[in-house]
Symmetry: C2
Subunit: 216 residues, 2 copies
């Protein structure tokens, strides 16, 4: 039996729109920035996976007898704003965004899912599974930095901007959707500091994997 409380519907709604828009933006980045057809197809591969995830989430929302469009609607503004403010200027920025920017967002969703019903949590875990996203971005970005170490400064700055914009939009979402914010706070229990430490540590690991310092 799936839970259809407002917090759970919000979690499924924000994730569904995040996957739909990630799919469309990755496809756009692939068209604009991929330096070769192989790279374009590889980013297209990630994009198509996001779309499959969107479909799973949309179907789950519909099975709760909620209109998927309504469930996603509150999150269109903040997520579109995030993408508008973090449109990559080139291929390496697109890869860093796909790995670091999306990574921290997904960690938040995963934390929020810790306390929900088993059926929802299993679905969230399934759509948040990494599936090669890391390996592809890590290989390309770390090779590029090794070949030209001067890239690392601007990419580290870019990653910090991605995270800053994500936290800023996250605050808008939390203020507008208290039931969703409550999921995150309840999942953290009394130990919200430890949750932030986990998120920061995971972010630091992703930056290190790319060969970047998490800074500031």
């Amino acid at each position: 039996m799936s839970d259809s409380s407002p917090g759970v519907v919000d979690l499924l709604g924000v994730l569904a729109y995040a996957e739909l828009t990630a799919f469309l933006r990755l496809a756009e980045d692939a068209t604009r920035h991929a330096p070769s057809l192989t790279d374009r197809a590889a980013l297209g591969d990630l994009a198509a996976t996001e779309y499959a995830h969107f479909r799973l989430l949309r179907d789950r929302i519909a099975s709760l007898e909620v209109d998927p469009e309504q469930a996603m609607a509150p999150f269109v503004g903040p997520l579109d704003d995030w993408h508008a403010q973090t449109a990559p200027g080139d291929w390496l920025e697109a890869l860093v965004k796909a790995y670091v920017g999306t990574g921290i967002a997904l960690d938040f969703y995963r934390e929020a899912a810790a306390g929900v019903d088993t059926a929802t949590r299993e679905l969230v875990e399934e759509v948040l599974a990494d599936e090669g996203r890391s390996q592809f971005a890590v290989e390309r970005v770390s090779a590029a930095i090794e070949a030209d170490p001067t890239q690392s400064g601007r990419l580290a700055l870019w990653a910090r901007r991605l995270v800053g914009e994500a936290l800023s939009q996250g605050q808008h979402v939390a203020a507008a959707r208290p039931e969703l914010a409550k999921l995150l706070i309840e999942a953290a229990g009394e130990d919200i500091a430890r949750m932030f430490a986990r998120l920061t540590e995971a972010h630091g690991k992703r930056m290190a994997a790319l060969g970047l310092t998490p800074g500031p």
Copy 2:
């Protein structure tokens, strides 16, 4: 046993790149022009299907021990040019492009596949299957024209431009890839006029389904 003659590799290569780029462009059109999340998801659905087709074609090319990137390379220029010259200005133009513009291109590929080995032809038929593309575009465009009949003039002009640009790029492709052109000519046999009549008739049917006159 699959045929790996230059004409067949060209046919698989042009189709693979056509599907990859259709996927990416449809996703871009969905982001830019869809008037609702439902429409955005519906065009996203078409885009994801194109991607699945791309993957089938790429795997077939690789199984012939040809590098997919090399097989696609000759067609990147003409297909990118076609998309650049036919970037939709709004949602209805995007739908007409997805149905009419892609429709005539796919008819050409289908004709070219008539004379190839069974394994290739079956794969081509599979990736050219319509799968709801028509129904979605036809419903939306014909409803929009019924609601506002003044749209039909500009959309009919737009469709003619799509076909004109497709034929122009098709000529470049045929000139540059004689083995591919040979497939089409051999498939038509002595009756190239009848092949063109078939293509024109299919185009006219698509225009009529949208509520547009094929003219002039």
